[in-house]
């Protein structure tokens, strides 16, 4: 029978199917970080349980690390916040006690877990991958079954190498045509969420297909699958093709020689069979997707750069009207106003969604030869890993950011969730390349507008949201 990509990955990892509809699924790779693992390790200790398979696990500190060079160089012991210090120290201690491989804080390979994983080849096509972080969906870009889990499940995977799951349904999101200039994977993600809503993917595995997806780089596919969770789907998927294989070929932990050949043979089968049936399907015309900007407090509250904030009178029901009214109030916006009239105070380029080298290149291309607007109070560029940082510096991108008046930071999750010192002040408005615009997400009272790196850069220069093309034409060709 014709199978979807998700069906194939599920079948290859099915330990046993039970009569009650649940199944045991084998987990190939388990990524850990400091925030959602301490209680899981504590649970193991209390129950006197060990790890099922030590080598499946890889840890890295990322959520709560400082992004300031001086604080990083001073080491963990010098971190000013004692609560954060204890959490990071606990990860180190647990990895020592349980003999889990950990990439340490100041290693060049350290970075956001979802940037580090693919970069090291620690996640690979065909794997099942879990992490105590909802953006684990990122790794579906590799043609892998990857999703976020809670801490109880982290403990379960550590102890059993399995998860108790129910099979999800299959949802095909076809993006036809080709993206226009200045339109990115982030805009596809926001357009899809705008179309199906933040609960539209609940209970589904989302497979992205179509010519616009095939043309994306691995970085772009990661951005897209990363945001699957914002559509309610635990995992996003993209089929394996030459782009996938080329990306993983030389990665440090990827198989080599004959093992690579065997792996490649299996990976090439990781695509949905012709004739396979999806439970739900939508088609979006990639040619028509414009750059997107969220205006509200949920990723589904989104409009194109040429669009407007909705009007209360246009809402379908009372719950929606109350929701819109609350969002406008929180965001400090007027109904019906043009997106291009919204003026950010802060710009954040980073996060597991958009901190890879391609993201930094696209922001730098806009910023080259420009200064950020005087109304921008703060502009942070936070590379996703030490290796991304080194690559960007080798290309001179750091100089472009610095000359534009931005800060060039050390890798970590930073202002995406504002666990560390990088956060918005109450009422501040941020053009952010991250993934969530929830109330208080980037700092208590902070206001988040989700955009692509190019759009964040353009907003930094213009002091308001503008179509990327406006800055590029102003620059008279300075944008490479």
């Amino acid at each position: 029978m014709a199978k979807t990509l998700y069906d194939k990955l599920w079948d290859a990892h099915l330990v046993e199917q039970r009569d009650d509809g649940t199944a045991l699924i084998y987990i190939d790779r388990h990524l850990l970080h400091e925030v959602t693992s301490p209680q899981a390790f504590e649970g193991l200790s209390l129950a006197n349980r060990g790890l099922w398979r030590r080598s499946a696990n890889l840890a890295v500190p990322d959520h709560n690390v400082s992004t300031l060079k001086s604080e990083r160089e001073a080491g963990l012991a010098a971190l000013p916040d004692p609560v954060s210090r204890l959490q990071l120290q606990t990860l180190d201690d647990n990895c020592d006690t349980f003999d889990v491989v950990e990439i340490p804080l100041n290693d060049e390979r350290q970075g956001i877990v979802h940037v580090m994983g693919p970069e090291q080849g620690a996640v690979l096509p065909g794997m099942t991958i879990v992490c105590g972080d909802s953006h684990t969906s990122t790794h579906g870009a590799a043609g892998a079954l990857a999703h976020g889990i809670g801490t109880s499940e982290v403990e379960h995977v550590l102890a059993t190498q399995c998860l108790i799951q129910r099979k999800m349904q299959n949802f095909q999101v076809e993006v036809s045509g080709q993206l226009g200039p200045g339109v990115t994977a982030k805009d596809i993600a926001l357009a899809v969420i705008g179309e199906i809503g933040t609960a539209g993917g609940t209970g589904y595995a989302l497979e992205f297909t179509g010519s616009a997806i095939e043309s994306l780089t691995m970085e772009g596919r990661m951005t897209l699958c990363n945001m699957a969770i914002e559509a309610g789907a635990r995992c996003g998927l993209v089929a394996v093709d030459e782009v996938t294989l080329d990306y993983f070929r030389e990665k440090p932990f990827a198989p080599k020689g004959a093992q690579w050949d065997a792996a490649e043979a299996w990976w090439r089968t990781l695509r949905t069979d012709k004739g396979a049936v999806f439970d739900r399907r939508i088609v979006i015309d990639g040619d028509l997707i414009a750059p997107h900007v969220t205006w509200g407090t949920s990723p589904e509250m989104v409009a194109s750069i040429k669009g407007h904030v909705p009007r209360l009178a246009d809402m379908p029901d009372e719950t929606a009207r109350v929701g819109l009214s609350r969002a406008l109030d929180y965001m400090g916006l007027e109904e019906g106003m043009a997106i291009s009239d919204i003026q950010p105070d802060v710009v954040f380029i980073g996060s597991c969604t958009n901190s890879r080298i391609e993201d930094l290149r696209s922001a730098a291309a806009i910023l080259d030869g420009h200064r950020i607007a005087p109304t921008i109070r703060k502009a942070l560029v936070v590379p996703g890993s030490g290796l991304v940082k080194a690559q960007a510096e080798a290309e001179g991108l750091d100089q472009i950011f610095l000359e534009a008046g931005m800060e060039w930071r050390e890798p970590g999750c930073s202002m995406c969730l504002a666990m560390n010192a990088d956060r918005l002040m109450p009422g501040e408005r941020c053009a952010s390349t991250s993934n969530r615009n929830f109330e208080g997400r980037q700092g208590s009272g902070g206001r988040t507008h989700l955009v692509s790196p190019a759009m964040a850069a353009a907003a930094a220069v213009a002091g308001r949201f503008v179509a990327v093309g406006e800055i590029m034409s102003d620059a008279g060709g300075a944008a490479r």
Partner: protein
Amino acid sequence: MKPFTQHDGLVAPMDRANVDTDLMIPKQFLKSIKRSGFGPNLFDELRYLDEGQPDADNSQRPLNPEFALNSARYEGASILLTRENFGCGSSREHAAWAMDDYGFRAVIAPSFADIFCSNALKNGLLPIVLSTAQVDALFVALYAEEGFSLRIDLQACTITLPNAEQWSFEVDAFRRDCLLSGLDDIGITLERSEAIRTFERQHQARFPWLFEDIVL
């Protein structure tokens, strides 16, 4: 996990859709390495007028008088009534821990986000899905009647309204058994160790590269 069989409780409203886990427990509290003590910071940004800190004495903080859970009427509530897509966003189990620590045993909504739902069930917190019309009716009744309470019977999968009307709900059979018995997943899965080992041997033979040690 504490078992859930039958529960009688006061109902409190959270009258908005898409309540996300950031709203349930803001990031600064995720620095804790413990599982307990999150209750005083549940819905922190809605509940208090100042910004919460992990080491603050919450009893001294100014309460938001407009937030339902701060009203005397809902003191001691153990069932939360809310709207669509409750628990969306981050996978942080701290959200379920905070709900539990506050004293909630059940949440009623038209729909839940997947990861939150799974986290809740693993912590003895029962997510109950009812139709939008039923949830609307419960909101009306809740606002009309002080002390509005429900009886939840997980064995029978029913909720009983104050007027003795009974509504049934559905819950995953495996999860229901776990909640009724209070059994923990890991113990259940480890009973299948032989099956896991057998699968693992075949998996390793087929995909040997997955079993290589990571050497930094």
